[in-house]
Amino acid sequence: MRRLLAHPSLVVGMGISVLFALLAMVSLVWTPFPIADIDIGRRFLGMTAEHWLGTDNLGRDMVSLLMAGTLTSFVVAAVAVAIGVGVGVPLGLAAAAWGGPVEWLVLRLSDFIFAFPAVVVAILITALIGPGAINAIIAIGIFNIPVFARVARGGALSIATLDFVAAGRLAGLGNAAIAYRHLLPNILSLIIVQGTIQMSLGILAEAGLSYIGLGTQPPETSLGLMLKDAQSVFLIHPWLGLAPGLAIVLIVIGLNLAGDGLRDAVDPRLRQVQTNVA
């Protein structure tokens, strides 16, 4: 624990991320005002004692919207990471443990999925079943699969040559048992680091998808949807667009710092590159 705290970017990043995550969780049980509370007479209030960050074009309290929106953004990104880990990690481990045709198949599959940017997947799903937060989850989740497959395979390959894995094989363990008992525990830290980074990419992607109407729909709210709502009145009431945008930027910086810090804490040699989802 002390070793982790020695990395300032990890502490700062975790601090920011946890703060926003807590705000989001609190919105489940309490927000200053109900977010469905529309009151046109109160709209476009500036910062007041009652409404700390003012109200939006429908008179809804901005603090409440931000809290609930952050929750949606976090949930979408987190479930998408879970999909990526749940499918990608077993694929990557299988590729490393079995090798040969299995590995070839996994690599081709992940190449193939890279050809489908999250936006394209979201477009296809929306054309089929209409818009919704679930589309964003699936689209971002699919994007995450090859990312985790590659990380898992890379990590597992570097461990597969070590003596304790050979010892396991001599003891009669099959590929699946090797992957589960020896490879998986040793790549967990890699997965957690990558998970943090994919969380931040997922939040950015959710914002983009909701902004063009392919993601979260009213009466639900998300940070991206708030930006979409703010677009038409942005030039007159810039604050409505500034607040959710700043929230996104802060959360993503927090998660990225936490990811960088974790990576340095786990293994400073792992300098990985990240790209954008949408």
């Binding site: 940017p117 936006v119 296809l124 089929l128 998808l209 063009i212 954008n276």
Partner: protein, 317 residues
């Protein structure tokens, strides 16, 4: 080298074929009757039957799939039901916005990101390095479309330097068309430039520690010369991979940013197609996006093989 190119071309064709199959199955086979789906619940049976004929739904699915592929090979993407025009023509008309926008954004991203990355690596650990990296860390976290909204506020509304949105066709006034793409390309490029600066810095720092830089120094080059002549060129290899990925994502990113600036590009076309349930148009447009992304990956791979001969030998991963 020829074998390497052939393998990559084969992979390219296979990817597109499977992608086409996935799209076809999703949009054509799963949700009951596409004609009914497109026309909605109030459609008369006659109009549904007419649309089924028009879409060729009366022939078996495998035959329809092959017909679609065959048509696309000849540039025929089918007829849009809502716009009553060939899908290929509709898409082609929109590419005049989307493609220049992506290219411009890519250019800006490189022009900003690469020099900053090199500068940061050369001043590693100094205040300038820290500053650039803090700016880059922030830049990565900014959603491109939100940056676009801020740019409109600053440069179009307050300073009145550039148009806030909309697009003048190229053949009407090329200068105005270009001016209309400046803010959108900045919005797309700056987050990408931040990533690029970080990658460039890391790659150059890695390379600077290598033996051949020491050799170059021993031969009498200054550190600056050694890094410039030998370091940057070697560091560009990992950067090239990222450039390919970035361009692929820029193409997808334009779809989102077009909305901020009301640009009549591919994104707007797709939005309309979705809301009007024009599955044939959606199918064609998504296929074009996937072709663009896959083509970018192919070109990156080929460029990589050209620059680094080692990759041509073991071409498996």
């Amino acid at each position: 080298m020829i074998l390497f190119i052939l393998r990559r071309l084969l992979g390219f064709a296979a990817t597109l074929l499977v992608a086409a199959l996935v799209i076809f199955v999703l949009l054509d086979l799963l949700p009951g009757d596409p004609a009914q789906f497109m026309l909605g619940l109030n459609a008369t049976p006659e109009s549904v039957a007419r649309l089924r004929m028009q879409m060729g739904l009366d022939v078996p699915a495998p035959q329809r799939f092959l017909g679609w592929i065959w048509g696309m090979l000849g540039g025929d993407f089918g007829m849009s039901y809502t716009q009553r025009a060939p899908v290929g023509e509709l898409i082609w008309g929109r590419l005049g916005v989307t493609v220049p926008l992506s290219l411009l954004a890519m250019g800006v991203s490189m022009a900003v990101g690469l020099p900053l990355g090199i500068l940061a690596a050369r001043r590693r650990g100094k205040a300038l390095d820290t500053t650039i990296m803090i700016v880059a860390q922030t830049g990565i976290a900014v959603p491109g479309f939100w940056l676009g909204m801020l740019l409109v506020l600053a440069f179009a509304v307050n300073l009145r330097w550039l148009p806030p949105g909309g697009f003048t066709p190229w053949d009407e006034d090329a200068g105005a068309a270009l001016r209309g793409l400046i803010l959108p390309s900045l919005a797309l490029a700056l987050p990408q430039a931040s990533i690029l600066a970080r990658v460039m810095r890391t790659a150059l720092v890695d390379v600077t520690g290598q033996d051949f830089i020491r050799t170059a120094r021993a031969k009498g080059l200054t550190m600056g010369e050694a890094v410039w002549r030998h370091g940057v060129r070697n560091a560009l290899l990992p950067v090239l991979t990222i450039l390919g990925l970035q361009f692929a994502f820029l193409i997808a990113g334009t779809i989102i940013v077009e909305n901020v600036f009301y640009l009549p590009g591919l994104g707007r076309l797709i939005n309309t197609a979705i809301s009007e349930r024009d599955l044939i148009l959606v199918r064609g447009a998504t296929m074009i996006l996937i072709i663009a992304v896959t083509l970018t990956m192919l070109l990156t791979d080929l460029a990589y093989g050209l620059v680094d001969p080692r990759l041509r030998e073991g071409a498996s991963s």
